[in-house]
Symmetry: D2
Subunit: 385 residues, 4 copies
């Protein structure tokens, strides 16, 4: 491969344009990674819709749920962030949020290093024009260079984890971290009944994480019935509540309480991104329960809220945003541990790496025709172990 193809967007609302760039030389601390699979994240959709609140360096390459195989690497790059050895041919993932490790938050609040003051993001903030032009996951290759971007973090995957599966490790990490926030606040315990608001990728992966961390009954509130709620039940939800069928907040609250029983849920998690989730969700809780807000990742606006309910119900409400560098292994290892216990094939829909494929993937994700759209340059590589 003398040249490498990479998808670029010229701005919000534009269609993908695949460009070819020359294969770069790989210096001491760098690596060239052949993409195996890269998911479409809600963040990508926000950017393409023009809802991103910060300036972006167009044209750019999207894609940050990213797994590939090391095609070539420099001699100095010997170990991943966890101290595991790295070699050509190894499967690796790059997380989208790379904390600097040196700012006030990274050093003094390490469990909140997600709030790093100076993070590095591949797949978003590095402009395409910067050589060697390979800065995102919707491409044949991605290039990393620890001298250029010292915060770059690489995580080696287990040998027997295929890239397609591995590309779920980053969103799964977000879900585990959200549940761990509840654990740390004494708000999630083995056997707890859990309600998940939202049946998209984050909802389904939170369902997996909750079950693997010892939840009792888990109920998912979302839509549409096909494919999403059906998939949630196939993944182990004890019940689902369709927002199409139950059109009012009170009817949904009642429906959830019918399934979880008792005085309400022990834990409710917002995985929707819709502002109404919070005020509705806390009414699904028993008094003394816990609510985790991980869905309002971007600013979707204000909602009238009664803070008296938070006081009188004696509840905990915990925000969780993204993850820290030490959370990523939790996602990788859980994915590895559960193996084929879950029907992953129902969840991931693959799209080829072409202008049409990338368009179709983002379209399918926006229209909720699948749970997780994933771009796969080479089908064989995506499924290799």
């Amino acid at each position: 491969m003398k040249t490498i193809r990479v998808a670029t967007f010229d701005g919000a609302g534009t269609r993908p344009h695949i460009r070819s760039v020359p294969r770069p030389k790989v210096p001491e601390w760098a690596a060239l990674i052949r993409i195996g699979a890269c998911g479409v994240c809600g963040t990508d959709l926000h950017i393409l819709r023009g809802h991103w609140p910060k300036p972006l360096p167009w044209p750019l390459t999207l894609g940050h749920e990213l797994v590939g195989v090391i095609e070539e690497k420099g001699a100095a790059l010997k170990a991943d962030f966890m101290g595991q050895s790295l070699a050509e041919g190894d499967n690796v993932m790059l997380p989208p949020l790379m904390s600097c490790g040196e700012c006030y938050y990274c050093v003094h609040y390490p469990t909140h290093a997600n709030r790093c003051l100076n993070p590095t993001y591949y797949g978003r903030y590095i402009p395409f024009v910067k050589p060697p032009h390979l800065w995102g996951g919707w491409a044949e290759m991605v290039y990393v260079d620890l001298e250029m971007f010292p915060a770059t973090k690489i995580y080696r995957l287990p040998n027997d984890m295929m890239p397609l599966r591995g590309s779920l490790s980053e969103p799964l990490t977000c879900c585990i971290r959200a549940l761990n926030r509840a654990v740390s606040a004494d708000g999630f315990h083995v056997g707890d009944n859990v309600v998940i608001q939202g049946s998209g990728p984050i909802g389904v992966l939170t369902l997996v994480a909750a079950l693997e961390m010892g939840a009792g009954r888990v109920v998912v509130v979302g839509a549409p019935e096909e494919p999403r709620l059906a998939i949630c039940r196939a993944f182990g939800a004890a019940g689902t509540v369709s927002i199409e069928e139950y059109a009012t907040p009170q009817s949904r609250i009642d429906a959830v309480r019918d399934v979880v029983g008792g005085f309400g849920a022990d834990l409710v998690i917002d995985c929707t991104g819709h502002p109404s989730a919070g005020p509705e969700g806390i009414e699904m809780l028993r008094d003394g329960g816990t609510y985790v807000e991980m869905g309002q990742f971007t600013d979707a606006g204000l909602i009238e809220t009664n803070w008296h309910r938070i006081c009188v119900k004696d509840i905990s409400l915990l925000g969780s945003w993204a993850f820290t560098p030490n959370d990523i292994p939790l996602g990788i290892q859980m994915l590895h541990r559960v193996g084929d216990r879950y029907p992953w094939h129902l969840m991931q829909k693959c799209f080829p790496f072409s202008e049409e494929g990338v368009s179709a993937a983002t379209e399918a994700a926006m229209r909720m025709r699948c749970v997780k759209a994933t771009i796969v340059p080479e089908e064989n590589l995506a499924r290799s172990t």
Copy 2:
């Protein structure tokens, strides 16, 4: 004393009416307690203003921050809730919220026994007409009877704690419990910078509790400068921010950040009861900080809220409502431990037990002319140890 005088209200908005009732016989499990001091609580004011959301058994006797001396007791009533012996002449307090100890919440969620399904309240829900008519603290005596109200809880005070001081133990307990909610959720640590919204009795007592539990710098946001903010500084606040001087949320947020420095406060606590406290207060936090909502004790309405801020700031937001039976000793003991380290006399304003005195006390509390209005039937008794 053949008859006992007791203040009653015939409804919201009425003036106090002192009635005399015969001194009752005291059966095996009962006691007659001579009131030493009884505070005026915000809840009393809500009731008198007609803002109480539930039906009340008018006429009734208010007053539930209540300390007295055991005048007479039955032979079976030998020990208080903590297993300490009880004798005539002992100083004791009764808490306003007495959990039943038998409902689902009391048995299965003991740290949330404040949410008891079947609580007993003196000073509010027992009608005056029920003999022997002594069911509240704005009176010369209160009557307790564990056969009639088995949930009744009595706490003996240390010998050297005068009733006037002891009457602060119940509100102080609420504040300690609110801070303990933060401790349990990994949200309050020694050295943390704390902001208290509100300079009323709960604000001042939260200031004391925070300092005693190891807070770093504590800032109080409130009004008026005289007497309240000046008293806060006398009690040890590192700074105060006047809402009269700083008229906008952003100016208050900036003023607080000037005092606490760094990236914002580690912990902010609402002690105001005003719905705007929450959305304003979370912006005073550093990312990853903790907010405790103990101020919205009753329903003061809705406020537009951006839940994205809770997510992206990675914060914890904890409701705390009242206290459980095991929290009360924490308030009594802290009050005892600190002794005269704080200028309590600045905080408590005494009013005589008369129709005029009771009126003046509630009026002073409503108009924020003092911090804690307290009704004192006998000055000597209030200050005896």
Copy 3:
């Protein structure tokens, strides 16, 4: 059934003697429960060997891992400890340790109600001579009476849980509670590598509990290879270390570290009952790890210990003894949730209810010929749902 047969022991070291007693009348608050299955616990073996440190009311009936079906019940006994309805025909379990709910520990330290000052124990401390003579699980029926023993706790099982499976709920509860002690002390997190010392019933059930609560790799150290270590691997252990093969502490520590990798285990749990477990086990930990001591349930003597190692390794060491009344539902529900995910048949060996059967069961348990010996009066009932 006019008479009911019940196994009794006349003292330590004696053989079981089955006596027949008349079927009792069942008053308002009582019930007669037909035994479906009852396990042999290490405590039973300690008693039979004469190692029990307290006086026992011989003759007595052993057996406290007890599940049965309600044969007959009084009208007042309407609900179980969790508030679930009770009816004739329901499967129920009785826990061996029934806290009183009223002593200082039960009221003021509810998470340590296992240390109840005045507990009730069926299957041990109620003498056979007390009518109606049905006080233990190695019998055709057990009798409960909440007027006679007000601390008696009954837990209804899910409809589809057969008694044989349900009889594991009490020992599983002990294991969950031990792990929850680590969770509460910030010492067990999703993905943690865990070492279990001991491959008996408590070892195997701790393995299940650890996996269900999100453990990473779990290693079991024990013996013999057949049947016990093989069963551990069938239940999901990532590795086993045979104490027959690895004869010295250092060799076992090295073998464990080979499997868990890195700097040692995050969590080590003693399920052996042998005093040497502690000093050996803490050396299997990484610095900053957690050790749970649930194995030294009875006093097996002193061992030389270097407390400097606890200090310099910066570790947590947590005792966990039995369970509280609120823990039992965790065991029942986990057992129900996992269904047939584990090869339970490998673990439970059934023995008939006869003098020979009871003898054989205790003998098999003592000689470690099986994992959990279980006495089953009626094979059909034991497997009915």
Copy 4:
């Protein structure tokens, strides 16, 4: 000052020898710090007695409880570890244990960065022969250089904290960290009764830390009555138990239980360094209580221990060793906050910086003639603010 005098030891058991070295040039990332005060730590005594378990680079300069004023600094050294500006004339402290920030423990277990795999220690492991020969606190100056030792950490003290007081910040930090270990493990709560074993510097500072973090009654077990136990009472101990008066473990356990009352202490902390502390101390606990082992800092040998007691008492036992870089501000700030609330002058005994002074200081510390021996080159500087 053209030359600088520095105390050196040629080996364990030798007397101090003061040498003069030329004043060094100070490069970009370096500083020369004029010593204001430097405490004598138990570690220094272990080294001088020849009890140190690792090889040491004799001759060397001891002294690591170290505060001074910046005499001269390079232009690049602009901020301390907390991001505070640094200028000539500022008071600063150096901690003895400087974690590297880059090893597996520092990056992946930041709350256990005290277990850093590659730490830097001034005052112990840097040989005197290495230029510019100023590597410890028993000297007129200490030299730091972040290019030579990148892990070097400097903490600026508040302007109004005199060096003599500031030299307590490092040992106080150890004590706060030990108590924080208990907080994190749900084992120390406001109002808890605490027993401190040991009345040396660590015992007294743990007393201060416990009181400032909300302890109820604190009892110190130690000796001798004069000066140590009397000082403990002056610092606020509710009671003291003399090991000279109470000669047996059981008599001490009884004496402690008399003071704390109830079922025993909620928290016991070893600050002795004697192996017998642990087995004795856990018997001072109520069931469910917490024991912190911070005293066995070095290896003082084995002790027979009954691990059954840990299990059946349902207790937590937590090791705490030294501190992490983020703990140091907690010690500095607490010391600043409490100001003159404690009679510090009783605790610190000053010795001049001379061969006789250093000898006398180590001698006084070994013979327990004072609580904290402190070497003070210039009396004025030690007390300047």
